[in-house]
Symmetry: C2
Subunit: 311 residues, 2 copies
């Protein structure tokens, strides 16, 4: 599979030797990550191969975005049960269009015969000392999320026939599931503002939990911020939307914290070209994650589900 022509002058040697050769640069740090997608686990078996190609790269680019980095180079390890030229063509189209969009170069690969599985590894870069980790959230910080978490889970539920959605919403949610948009530009802009950041792959509650564990603090989420958004609110109950946002996965939105005194400015300056920005709660002292309803009542979130909680 040829790499995309991105005119990458740091790739001294691309596909075709034992390894790629890439020029290093002082003053920067390398971000290195890998993720696997398996048919029937990470995408329904009937998924369009163009979407599989797109999503395989997108979930990896999303990890680079969550550090505030620029995605640069990637390798592809593809296992296929048999050579299917049409499938490969569609897969490549989805993969390479996304690669071109973000200027990331395919520099190596390995194709093997086996159950359908795609592993991509990405190297990104970030100016030295500026990567945004999970461990920097502090009590008083405001919590934001890009986009509307829960869309991908609702899209999957509609494919499975578990919920009934109007056609326009159904299409949008399924597109969100199949073609997640890695928030690289947003992550890059947040590099000097966010105190902590993660991408939502396991669901907001679980991924915010990772930030809280790494930062040794607690958080309160306002349920209204996640349970009322048009046009979804007109088709689904607020509790269903809240549940999808907290526990659904596969959104690949960025969840991050900023110091409270920078939060208003951030909202004002958030670019119109970016995904919507939701202010969803606050970092607090203590441990665990709580949800606050519009009346100020707190519910503690456990593994999966709410517990009414009085304190």
């Amino acid at each position: 599979m040829p790499g995309p022509d991105v005119g990458d002058n740091r790739v001294n040697l691309g596909i075709g030797d034992d390894t790629a050769i890439i020029k290093a640069d002082s003053g920067e740090e390398l971000l290195f990550t890998t993720d696997t997608l398996i048919s029937g686990v990470h995408f329904p078996e009937a998924t369009d191969p163009t979407a599989i190609g797109h999503k395989s790269l997108a979930v990896n680019l999303s990890d680079i975005a969550a550090m505030g980095g620029q995605a640069r180079w990637f390798t592809l390890a593809l296992s296929l049960p048999d050579i299917d030229t049409d499938w490969l063509q569609s897969f490549s189209t989805g993969l390479l269009l996304l690669a071109k969009k973000f200027g990331v170069s395919l520099v190596g690969g390995d194709t093997t015969r086996g159950a359908l599985s795609i592993t991509i590894s990405v190297i990104g870069t970030v100016p030295e000392g500026t990567a945004v980790r999970r461990s920097g959230a502090r009590p008083g910080d405001t919590i934001f999320v890009t986009g509307h978490p829960g869309m991908a889970a609702l899209g999957l539920a509609s494919i499975k026939g578990n919920i009934d959605l109007p056609d326009t919403i159904k299409t949008a949610f399924q597109k969100k599931l199949d073609y997640p948009h890695p928030r690289l530009q947003e992550g890059n802009c947040l590099r000097n503002t966010a105190t902590s950041m993660i991408d939502i792959s396991d669901g907001l509650a679980a991924d915010l939990g990772h930030i809280l564990a790494a930062s040794e603090c607690s958080a309160v989420i306002d349920s209204d911020s996640l349970s009322h958004w048009q046009p979804a609110s007109s088709a689904l109950a607020g509790t269903r939307l809240l549940d999808a946002a907290l526990y659904g996965g596969d959104d690949y939105e960025l969840l991050f914290t900023v110091p409270m005194d920078m939060s208003v400015l951030l909202e004002q300056e958030w670019r119109s070209s970016f995904s919507p920005l939701l202010r969803i709660g606050d970092i607090t002292e203590g441990t665990g994650l709580k949800v606050r309803d519009r009346h100020g009542n707190l519910m503690k979130i456990t593994e999966r589900g709410y517990n009414h909680f009085h304190d």
Copy 2:
């Protein structure tokens, strides 16, 4: 799985965030490669998990060795049909012992449920401009190989019951198949001497073919250099050894070329701690690969097999 403690002061952040963070350095180039091992394809299903862990990393380190580089950091993507603690413990032991041996750090990973498959991606480094490519062989260069190619293929044949070997040889050959030793030290020493280099994964004929294609030249191999080596010669016919060397894969030895006027010095200075060094032939003008017997007769090598050839 915890990373090995290799005291790596360039890893600013290891496993546990969205990506690892690694300090870059000017004056060096990055080598980036990925390889997948699938059960039943790249190793027999009954293979000891310690060997699977070792081999998964070894085949990737071998690619770094073939560029003359130093292996530095790797990620592991592991698909497992179910959680088997004993299996994971043995796998990790094989993987991390080899990692520690060569000072390469595990900095990221992804574990998924699926058919047994291991994809490892490695970043290596090399001083800028010193990586050894496949494309630098020139007519007149001498061709060398480390070790005795064919051992792994003969080991596999003995496991399958296709050949009968004395126990000591059988054990050695099967160990070669299961625990290939990446020639990182040898590759590193060859950085300023070799004009081209590759590791033997597909078989000597195929991999030398890659060098010839990239370097646009031809080669003549002396059959005696590959068909007579003790103790194998006492158990197997020379033609069987030659066949295994030319067409067997999985050896992970280094195949390389050096200018003729440096070849004698190289042989003299080859360290006793290294694997044996075989001088196997010469790079010539033209195309294709030929084998020369002890009488000087040339046979042209086609896809798989010899053709008697007169010129």
